[in-house]
Symmetry: C2
Subunit: 453 residues, 2 copies
């Protein structure tokens, strides 16, 4: 337990937003191992994009402070303790990471960033070899979100800070108790990237473990998993497919082989399965659309992979599509077969409960609860009608503490990277390139929905 | 701001419930000066009495821990800083305390206590010369209440502690905002004796100052007044009259002079007025009943004293009696004449607002807000239906954090001391002696009401 209000009033010298390299999602390590094995030299570019331009991040976050925090990350290297933790990792089976990969991690330093301002937004980008750049994604987001929160928090007086955090504590507890009251419901922390702060995520994880017991399945944050004796949770993310496809998209198109592009999204899964056993095999079908993914997927994936993660589109529709796919692939009873359906898109308590009740009898359901778990502060300021000092026209009650800022891979191998998920509001990549991808992956099965977080 | 939950989990070495001798009500100093001037050698006895026997204090508070805390108080002496603060005190006019009195404070050490157990209750008593014993009263209570709270708090897990304090923070803030929204309403902190803890009182005072600004008039706690740059608030208490009357009651009765006993309650006020100017002249009329007090009071008191404090009886009835007395004494417009009516009995927000609205046009009204300000925790435990560990049959939701424990003067000059206030549930002294007092002070004008705190 931390005295959050006091930590804003009297920050400690080492209160960097990201203070160690293991303060990062565990899926980054499974990804890095994959990248190191197959694509370590692939040049990539990541860019942070604020999807909600009405949040003036560059007005709120001081540039010098942002540079200090990012520069600090560049001074970090993995501790021997972390390297041992990874090398000895047993949750997903023994020896998941080879020693040579651990050696590569030991030598890893994060490459330079470029930071500029466009209007009220920062343009924060990272370029280099994929293996070096990949960690920046969720680290950069965590840095920006924490500095954004701190800048706002410094505009509160002591009482406002105390009451704000008191209410957040009570709100989080209330949500956890609501979840605890639903028998069998489980979840894991997926909230590193848009967390309110390092310390708040730490407390949220601590409280979830105390309230939920073993029904809190773990945290994506590697450091916090270790410190709280929890399972580090993570498998793969969209950038895996996006980078590999982007690197080869143009040449395959020029060669007139769109089917080879479509096949790539599955080839990558085969590469993944060469590295990892079933525990790390969770399908993420929505990179270019869930409908086309399942339509073209080999039935073996339904048997050999542990489950599916839903990260865009209508969760009930996607859930039903997953069940249909399993049955069509001969997995008649996905639940009895141990298949897992992981929801991770814009979750909050009531949605989790609804999805759990809907699918729990047909498949093993769990949740990767992110932003509303680690950054659920909206509406808690004690005087919502008061102006936020220094931000003309903004009232405390209007402040969004978490918003839909992402850090996405925008190029790989010199080609623009594209994401075309079930919710087109989450699509990334140049419009012309998105069109070329639609030619390959089809146009159906996608909607535009409001992006919550 | 303090990390309250953490301070229970990891107490600091010097977290004594009372950690300095100035952590005491300011009225103790005005009283001590009076006692030192007129009655310093009078032998007195104080006893702590739990009016609510259904709260098993001796089951909750460990005897060894209680002894340690009380023994620690006996090691304390006034710091030079505190002595300078008192000698230089200017809120109530210059030079209110003579240097010889400050010298006497410098040499003051608290005398021994006696502690025994009767059933589930402690019997905690203090005997000695009045000047030495007087400070024990509110110090002993603060020690017992804090150890009682700590013992219960140690039975909570970290999440329960965090949520419990979070809710208390939000509740206190809500109360302060409610008071702030009533234009002109003012109050002072009178909550030292039954405070939840030293640290919590400190935070309550801090927050009240920040939320209410100058409408928070100060605190009775001398140390906290100094630390928060607030006015130390206090004048006199019932023990003043009780001790002096008890010391002479028998001899005057034997001499057949009950009228001299009745006169004593006013003679003491004259002695007080010799020492202090109008700022410290607040009448406390209910020691032996407000009706008889006003019936026998010289009209000069209405003019020469600043105001009246209501500490028992129906506050509206007493308030009306005060106004009637002022008008009968020729103070036609008490408000314009600067007269003050201080309510201090079992207050909470709604009652304060009701009393303020009722009397604000007729007299200057303020409040000495005590236990609900510094110890308002009832009903905040996150799982009220769960058992309190180690206290068979008690649920968290049933726990009373503040209860009507008092430390009262029970003898002076070898005679039992008696209090017969407007609420007979707050009466103290042996039944036979109460009867003798009723012969002198009359039987009318008193009720039995439930004692809130």
């Amino acid at each position: 337990m931390t005295d959050f209000a006091n930590r804003i009033l009297r920050p400690e010298r080492d209160d960097h937003p990201v203070r160690s390299l293991d303060d990062v999602d565990f899926y980054k390590f499974t990804m890095l191992h994959f990248i190191w094995t197959y694509y370590r030299k692939l040049p990539v570019r990541y860019e942070c994009i604020n999807r909600k331009a009405n949040i003036p991040v560059a007005q709120v976050v001081d540039e010098a402070e942002l540079r200090r925090a990012l520069d600090h990350v560049r001074t970090l290297s993995f501790s021997e303790r972390t390297l041992s933790y990874l090398f000895g990792q047993q949750y997903y089976g023994k020896n998941m990471f080879p020693y040579e990969f651990i050696e590569a991690l030991r030598n890893l330093r994060l490459p330079p960033y470029t930071l500029s301002t466009e209007g009220d937004q920062y343009v924060l980008a990272f370029e280099g070899e994929w293996f070096e750049v990949e960690l920046w994604e969720t680290i950069a987001l965590a840095v920006v979100f924490e500095l954004y929160a701190r800048s706002l928090l410094r505009r509160m007086n002591t009482t406002e800070l105390c009451v704000f955090y008191a209410r957040a504590t009570d709100r989080l507890y209330g949500k956890l108790m609501r979840l605890r009251d639903v028998p069998g419901l489980t979840f894991a922390d997926f909230g590193q990237r848009r967390r309110h702060s390092f310390l708040w995520q730490w407390e949220a994880v601590r409280m979830a473990k105390e309230v939920m017991g073993s029904r809190f399945k773990g945290t994506s944050n590697t450091r916090m998993a270790a410190e709280h004796n929890l399972m580090p949770i993570g498998t793969n993310a969209h950038s895996l497919v996006m980078a590999v496809v982007a690197a080869r998209f143009s040449s395959l198109m020029e060669a007139g082989k769109p089917e080879a592009i479509r096949a790539l999204q599955y080839d990558i899964l085969d590469q993944w399965a060469e590295l990892y056993g079933p525990g790390v095999r969770i399908l993420l079908p929505d990179t270019y659309g869930t409908v086309q993914f399942f339509a073209g997927a080999d039935k073996a994936l339904a048997h050999e992979w542990r489950g599916v993660r839903q990260d865009s589109g209508d969760p009930i529709e996607v859930g039903e599509a997953v069940l249909e796919w399993y049955r069509g692939a001969g997995v008649e009873k996905p639940k009895e077969a141990g298949k897992l359906l992981v929801f991770s898109d814009g979750l909050d308590v009531e949605l989790m409960i609804e999805l759990f009740e809907r699918f729990k009898d047909d498949i093993n359901v769990t949740f990767g609860w992110g932003t509303n778990f680690t950054n659920g502060f909206d509406g808690l300021h004690p005087t919502p009608d008061a102006q936020v000092p220094g931000l003309s026209g903004l009232l405390w009650g209007e402040v969004k503490w978490a918003f839909s800022m992402v850090c996405k891979i925008v190029a790989a191998g010199g080609n623009p990277a594209v994401k075309l998920p079930d919710n087109l509001a989450k699509a990334t990549g140049p419009a012309a390139e998105q069109e070329r991808y639609k030619e390959v992956f089809g146009r159906g099965g996608r909607d535009i929905q409001e992006v919550i977080v």
